[in-house]
């Protein structure tokens, strides 16, 4: 899958989630792999105050031709990877189009308004059905359960990267992922991250 041609140039990927889910690490890992292969990569990140349990979003632009801006124009996301289902919808509403490939974790993280009982978090199954009607190719997977079965919910981001690898739309492979992990994380974390990647790969 490392020889995948970009369907468009620039190819636009959004990785989104809630502060603390490892969204930024996922986008840096992916961006690093692609830059190493000679792509021109731009990652625009929204964090800062939002790291305190707010929405977090990374825009990845991948090109052979020219550096793209750090913000994807509305309606022009080719792939949306979301670590949380409501965030997937929020981003889809702004950046999605009928061809967008949506891959999302289906485990909710409740906004403070829901926790307090002021709002209701809609049933994810209902949300999924509504999205599938609009985007029949969307993928909802229980990455949190898979990460927890590997011992830590923090692995959700890596499970999702593995699932993205399987979709075969962004040009990277397991070997490159391994190199990227080796370059960024402590050696002792390699095995568990590879397991998480493989687990995600098997989920779509």
């Amino acid at each position: 899958m490392s020889d995948v041609k970009l369907a468009k140039d620039p190819y636009n990927v959004i990785i989104t989630g809630v502060g603390g889910q490892g969204n930024v690490l996922a986008s840096r890992l992916l961006g690093g792999m692609l830059a190493k292969k000679g792509f021109l990569v731009t990652i625009g990140e929204t964090f800062g105050a939002s790291q305190r349990g707010g929405s977090v979003m990374s825009h990845l632009r991948i090109s052979r031709a020219a550096l793209a801006s750090p913000q994807i124009p509305k309606g022009r996301a080719d792939v949306i990877v979301s670590l949380e289902p409501a965030e997937a919808l929020r981003v889809l509403a702004l950046y999605g189009n009928p061809e967008t490939i949506l891959l999302t974790n289906n485990h909710p993280i409740y906004p403070v308004g829901v926790i307090k009982g002021d709002m209701v978090y809609p049933p994810v199954a209902e949300m999924e059905a509504a999205v599938m009607e609009l985007l029949p190719t969307a993928h909802f997977i229980d990455a949190t359960a898979r990460a927890l079965s590997l011992g830590n919910s923090i692995l959700v981001n890596i499970v999702m990267l593995g699932a993205l690898g399987r979709l075969n739309v962004v040009p990277f492979n397991r070997e490159e992922f391994k190199e990227a992990i080796a370059a960024r994380l402590a050696a002792g974390l390699m095995e568990i991250n590879l397991q998480a990647f493989d687990a995600g790969y098997g989920m779509v």
Binding site: I43, A49, L67, P73, G75, L89, P111, V112, V114, V131
Partner: protein, 648 residues
Amino acid sequence: MSYLIDEGKNAEHLLMGNEAIVRGALEAGINVASGYPGTPSSEIIECFSQVAKERNLYVEWSTNEKVAVEVAAAASFAGLRSLCVMKQNGVNVASDFLLHLASSGTRGGMLLVSCDDPGALSSVNEGESRLFAQLLEIPLLEPGDFQEAKDIIPWAFDLSEQLRNIVMVRSVTRLSHASGNVRFGPLPGTAAKAEFHYSGPLLDPDTGPMIAMIVAAPEAQHGPQQEKLKKAAEIFETCPFNTYTGPAAPELLIVTSSACSLYSREAVSVLGLAERVGILKLATTWPLPQGLLKKHLAAAPKILFVEEVAPTLEDHVKVVAAESGAEIGIKTFFGKKSGHLPSVGELNPDLVIAALSRIFAVPYAGAPAAFSVAVKALAARYAPPRGMTFCPGCPHRASYWSINNAVKLDGRNGFVCGDIGCYVMGTMPAGFNTCKTLHAMGSGSGIASGFGKLKQFGMDQPVMAVCGDSTFFHAAMPALANAIHQRSPFTLMLMDNRGTAMTGFQPHPGSPTNVLGDAVPALDMEKICRAMGAKVEVSDPFDLEKTRQKLNHLMEYADGAKVLILRRACALSPERRGKKDYEVTVDESRCRGEDCGCNRICTRIFGCPGLIWDGEKKVSRVDEIICVGCGVCADICPAGAIVRKEVA
């Protein structure tokens, strides 16, 4: 070894704009870097500190931005290359010294790096630092992408040494916190020798003392300073970072800088206007290169300014156009003032696309309208908004809980003046709407000091202020000194969470180690406040009742300023992260749910993300993944239904 000091030939890395600035400075042979943390600038000092030993650097987090510039200036005076960095608000703090530094000039190359936050994504304002370059009469550079963020820094150091003055470099969130490919250049040797020469004549730039003093003789220093600026304008005419792309005679010329140049390129490409629109991307935005500008203005009848926050390019270029009207002809201008671009908030490709599509009457839609409508309806129905709140286990939630209760019990309509840090959420429901004023770093204490002196006009409300540990050293100490000296009876609640938490635990003068990891003297805030003459109490904010009692006691005490130190490390701090003090559970049989005296006081009011209201069972429960085991909620529950068990 950090990739920031990769010496491989043709090395290329994906770097954040902030990292690119650091690499550029390393390639320029920087010696000293200083700053005060603030999003989106904080990574710069952190990156320098990671390579300080290998690159023979001195790096510090200074007490505040003014001190940071002074520290960097000393290095320059001693012939070294130095850089000081801050967010836009920091330039306000540093501006007094900067004004005088610009007058005395510098020796070794010296840069002021300001990282602005258009749209106030992580700020209490979207302040504009570019205007300072004009006020200070110093040159301003704005890199347009990641490669340029690296490449422009050595060029800026050379410029600073050529002019003998500080040079300002402005980044924005979408460059500082975005990443792109950056090709590295060579790193120089690390040998450096510092010496301050001062025995020459007063105004000698190489050997005289460094003194900004132009009492009644402005021509002595102000004149030469302006000559430097004129020289900069000449150099800027051929600056390699001012670029033009587009046809020789475009129908419309975009004049832009910084991240906005990337949005402009994208908009022109998306609309297919490359044959009709030219883009003049300026890296030298003060003083403007007039010759270059006139050449490009002459070629196009319409001009569109694409920039964020204040219309500074727009204003300055219009002056050039007015002065050279006879040469370049009459232009039609578009930008913020014409209403084609918004005057507040950050820009993005869509806003530039909208402006161009309006000017050229080219229709544009990002996604098919029917899809947009349907998907927006889905999001409205299924994506509940995500409000800001304190982290689970945050000491501030507990502090504000006690402060609120103390104010209510006191019953004299008291109030709290807010300050800058995570605890700005004291103005919001997350902090129980406790804070009633909020302005700049340290201002809560200064305002409270003033409120405390209004008794003679009949004001008898008790006055309080909050500030964090880093903010205390940064700017609250002078306000506290004022209050003590003026006998202003306000109560400062010093929320000591052991680091500059909001920006990522940078050390401050109260920390036992510095940014380089060296053991350093930690200033004791309790002793300082006592020595200054305040009445001081200390409390653990997780002990809600004692904290409330101490605060009520201090509020009663009317003779001068009081300080209540609320000491508990941030839940995300290295010392607390991943460690649970308690296993917390809800005893469903005891939970009174909606019949609770205060109607679900724990979930509805206290609002910790670790506590969930179970709408089906009508009881509260603990989210084990989110809960960090601080155990504070057990003291909130009037029914004793929240049970905490100490973790062995």
